[in-house]
């Protein structure tokens, strides 16, 4: 496994700074529950950045990383829905809650299929939501162009997730070294895109 470099650490530290700034100053115009969801999304990015700085890439081997990582699209999509489609908020919240518990439980179960299915289901739906919802908002609600950066962030983090999944299955066409070299930049650009995107809401 590739060792984390100084450049990787600097990029991750920048991620922490941007996400911190967003939590402190960028969420005040939203309502209480939406602020909570966005704080969780950026908070997970901060903690992920800090843990990678401290522990290196080996932490990605931990089976609970995937559970925590699911919180990013899940909480971001919850924030988008609670802010723009209030009628869907409660059903989506129930889906998110049940989905997260399902992922956590199936991680502990011996069946790998169940664990994979629950991840694909919950991560997939929330990922598609944060990709499509900003596009929909841009088209239908004449929301500023910046909101599309959230879709860009969703694409980037999706690519990161797929690359890591390939790595874990051992069927990657790209070398592990290259994937780990990309990872801090993907996380950084994702944070930057989410930061820019929320400015459009």
């Amino acid at each position: 496994m590739r060792k984390i470099t100084l450049i990787d650490r600097i990029v991750l530290a920048l991620l922490v700074l941007i996400a911190s700034y967003q939590i402190v100053s960028g969420l005040n115009r939203f309502s209480g529950i939406t602020v909570f969801y966005f704080t969780v999304a950026f908070g997970v990015l901060i903690i992920a950045g800090l843990l990678l700085i401290l522990f290196g890439y080996e932490i990605l081997k931990n089976q609970f990383v995937i559970v925590i990582a699911t919180l990013i699209p899940l909480s971001l999509s919850l924030g988008l829905i609670s802010n723009n489609y209030r009628d869907f908020h409660l059903p989506y919240l129930i889906f998110a809650f049940v989905g997260l518990i399902l992922i956590a439980i199936t991680r502990l179960s011996p069946s790998k299929t169940l664990a994979t299915v629950s991840i694909v289901l919950v991560h997939g739906i929330s990922g598609i939501t944060i990709f499509l919802l900003p596009i929909l908002l841009y088209i239908k609600k004449s929301t500023p162009f910046e909101i599309l950066f959230i879709s860009l962030g969703a694409t980037l983090i999706g690519i990161g997730g797929i690359l890591l999944a390939f790595l874990q299955t051992g069927r990657s066409i790209i070398s592990g070294k290259f994937i780990f070299a990309l990872l801090p930049w993907i996380l950084f650009l994702t944070t930057l895109a989410f930061y820019a995107g929320l400015g459009g809401l």
Binding site: S20, I23, S25, L27, N28, F42, I46, I47, L50, L51
Partner: protein
């Protein structure tokens, strides 16, 4: 000649534990800034930094002199300048006393209260913690913690002119953070401390009880900073950010209890330092911006 001076400075830089001194210095600066004193008064601000730096590094040098026999017996510290014989104890005592005295006098010239607090911090650290209790009881870290809390209390007292509730809260956050910092370290170097005959929480109470003590003190530290931020009237955003950093800290504390490992323990040790650094930066930026 220049090469010799450079080498000497490098040895003393090691002797004052630059990172630890830097973090304590930052807490003192934070305490002062939270008082919303006009920090653009460069003379006071520079005097605060100078007096703190001198007294903290002076007390660290004196601690190194006192602990040199212990350091010789521990693998981790055997190469330090004093046990390795690179600096003579007599010379270190003179330097340590000079730095401490200069720091204390400078502090008294700023304010009597500030000077008294700086002096008591130094007294608790060198006399009570290092000379008296460190070799007798693991509870010595409480007194070391009080000494560690003094810079932030003193910095704030210099700004507001008294020791107030917020100052005590901020001091408490440092005091309660110190067990997380020291106990994770004493678990990692358990055999080293045992070899040197220093009683630590892991050696007296066992590892699991030590982890529980870390958990309780971490929660206390997080709460103290949180209440401090609220009492200072900083915006909600800063409290949210503190909640995020605290979640990371408490998550690692929880993990160290349910799934203990050396990796988690050292991760917690490093994260705790990051947490304290972040808390101070939150307090500074929340007050200034």
């Amino acid at each position: 000649m220049w090469k010799k001076i450079k080498e000497r400075l490098r040895l003393y830089w090691e002797l004052i534990k630059a990172l630890q001194t830097g973090l304590l210095l930052l807490t003192g600066i934070t305490g002062f800034i939270t008082s919303k004193c006009p920090i653009m008064n460069y003379a006071i601000f520079i005097s605060l930094i100078g007096s703190l730096f001198l007294s903290i590094s002076g007390s660290t040098v004196l601690n190194m002199v006192i602990d040199r026999d212990i350091d010789t017996r521990m693998g981790r510290t055997a190469k330090r300048p004093l046990p390795a014989g690179k600096i003579k104890p007599k010379e270190a005592i003179i330097v340590g006393l000079s730095l401490s005295l200069a720091g204390i006098l400078w502090a008294f010239s700023l304010s009597i209260l500030y000077g008294l607090l700086i002096f008591s911090g130094l007294f608790f650290d060198v006399v009570v913690y290092s000379m008296w209790l460190k070799r007798r009881t693991p509870w010595s870290i409480v007194w070391g913690g009080i000494a560690g809390a003094m810079p932030i209390i003193a910095g704030r007292a210099l700004g507001v002119g008294k020791v107030d509730f917020i100052g005590i809260l901020l001091g408490l956050s440092i005091l309660l953070w110190i067990p997380t910092h020291i106990l994770t370290f004493s678990m990692k170097y358990y055999t080293d401390y045992a070899k040197a005959g220093i009683p630590t929480f892991p050696s007296v109470y066992g590892f699991q009880k030590t982890r529980l003590i870390i958990a309780v003190s971490s929660v206390g530290s997080v709460l103290s900073v949180g209440i401090g931020i609220t009492a200072l009237g900083l915006s909600w955003g800063y409290l949210r950010l503190l909640a995020v950093f605290s979640t990371g800290l408490l998550g690692l504390v929880f993990l160290s209890i349910i799934k203990p490992s050396e990796r988690v323990n050292m991760g917690l040790f490093k994260y705790a330092s990051l947490f304290m650094l972040s808390s101070m930066l939150i307090l500074i930026s929340g007050t200034l911006l």
